[in-house]
């Protein structure tokens, strides 16, 4: 009979609390080939589809102090147009006079159409409260761009400025480990443990990275938006917390998305 502690330890690995645990494996396993086979096998049935279904309902359901749906939300292609919208974000929006990514834009729509206070969402944690609603909307919106070509318009001067600010943010080293985004994502063929790190400074890597997020993380059983992904990158860089929807996060998204132009949107992704 196994002890309770042993049982707990056995499950701990399976459910991902011990993220740093790692098992020494027999060398003869062809790791790369095995991992590729694994990744291929989990592509079917991405649980992000479940959130996308909920997001679809949320989009068309009246909500908030104003009891309006988001059916008139303009994601850049005109009010209510969702198909293909994500493949063209971030972009400059004249009504807010700002460059916005999907999540900051959704907050604008929720504020103007439904009367939901964006400050409340900014203060929440990921996958909680209103921010979970945003995540479900994100799952829906990005699914509607699956298979589209990434085509971010850089004509507006504000977009060019945000690209430059994003580039600077990408290479910005700071904190106790002296890391920047480029420390992990600035060269080809690098990986942390077994995780491949796309080179986001080049088109191919940027398309692979930008094009496969937001994604469902099987290790956490969670759907992560791009804001969530960036937030956790900064956590692992040992830097301070980026504020939800802040300009630094939007600028980084502009940098990645523009570098990815011409690539394919494979959203929502599914990751280990």
């Amino acid at each position: 009979m196994k002890s309770k502690a042993m049982k707990a330890a056995g499950w701990a690995a399976a459910v991902g609390w011990s993220l740093c645990a790692s098992l020494a494996l027999a060398q003869e396993v062809d790791t790369t080939k095995g991992i590729e086979e694994y990744r291929r096998m989990i592509q079917d049935g991405n649980p992000a589809d479940l959130l996308a279904m909920e997001g679809d309902e949320i989009w068309t359901t009246s909500y908030g102090p104003k009891q309006q749906s988001l059916a008139q939300c303009d994601l850049g292609l005109g009010p209510g147009v969702v198909k293909g919208a994500y493949a063209r974000l971030p972009r400059y929006f004249a009504d807010t006079a700002r460059v916005q990514d999907l999540e900051s834009r959704l907050m604008t729509c929720m504020q103007t159409l439904q009367g939901v206070d964006p400050e409340k969402i900014v203060k929440e944690d990921f996958l909680k409260g209103e921010r979970l609603r945003v995540a479900k909307l994100v799952a829906y919106v990005v699914t509607e761009s699956q298979g589209e070509t990434i085509a971010v318009d850089t004509a507006h001067p504000k977009m060019q400025e945000m690209y430059e600010l994003g580039r600077r943010m990408f290479f910005y080293r700071a904190g106790p480990m002296d890391f920047s985004c480029a420390s992990c994502h600035g060269a080809d063929n690098q990986r942390i443990r077994l995780q491949d790190l796309p080179n986001l400074t080049k088109q191919k890597g940027a398309a692979a990275g930008w094009g496969s997020w937001p994604a469902y993380r099987v290790s956490a059983s969670q759907f992560w938006t791009m804001q969530h992904r960036l937030w956790d990158c900064f956590r692992q860089q040992r830097l301070a917390e980026p504020i939800y929807g802040s300009d630094a996060t939007v600028a980084l998204s502009v940098y990645m998305a523009v570098n990815a132009n011409g690539g394919e949107m494979m959203t929502p992704g599914i990751k280990r």
Partner: protein, 103 residues
């Protein structure tokens, strides 16, 4: 993720249908702890029933080792227009049923 919607996709090929089911369910083992060290209560689907035109074709018994947000796929004799119904029941007595018409 709380228990929520189910997504059923059913497609026909010859005289067989392929059914793919995705369920929103935490599938908590009851042996996991939250960050403050409290044990998270077991919560998992125990039984699944799939019918085609109200006739049972497949039943399943699950333990907590089925992955969170379960996915499963099966094949059965059938044709376009058939109604595929899937229902689950969990250890807390919650249940959910969804159906789809084979296209």
């Amino acid at each position: 993720m709380a228990a929520g919607p189910m997504r059923i996709r059913a497609s026909v090929s010859g005289d067989e249908i392929n059914v793919r089911v995705l369920m929103a369910h935490p599938m908590e083992t009851g042996q996991r702890k939250d960050p403050s060290g409290n044990v998270i209560e077991a919560h998992y689907i125990t039984d699944v029933v799939a019918t085609i035109n109200d006739k049972i074709v497949l039943t399943a018994e699950w333990g907590p080792a089925v992955s969170t947000n379960p996915y499963f796929e099966f094949n059965a004799k059938g044709k376009a227009g058939d109604t595929v119904k899937v229902k689950w029941v969990d250890n807390k007595g919650e249940s959910r049923e969804d159906s789809v018409q084979v296209k």
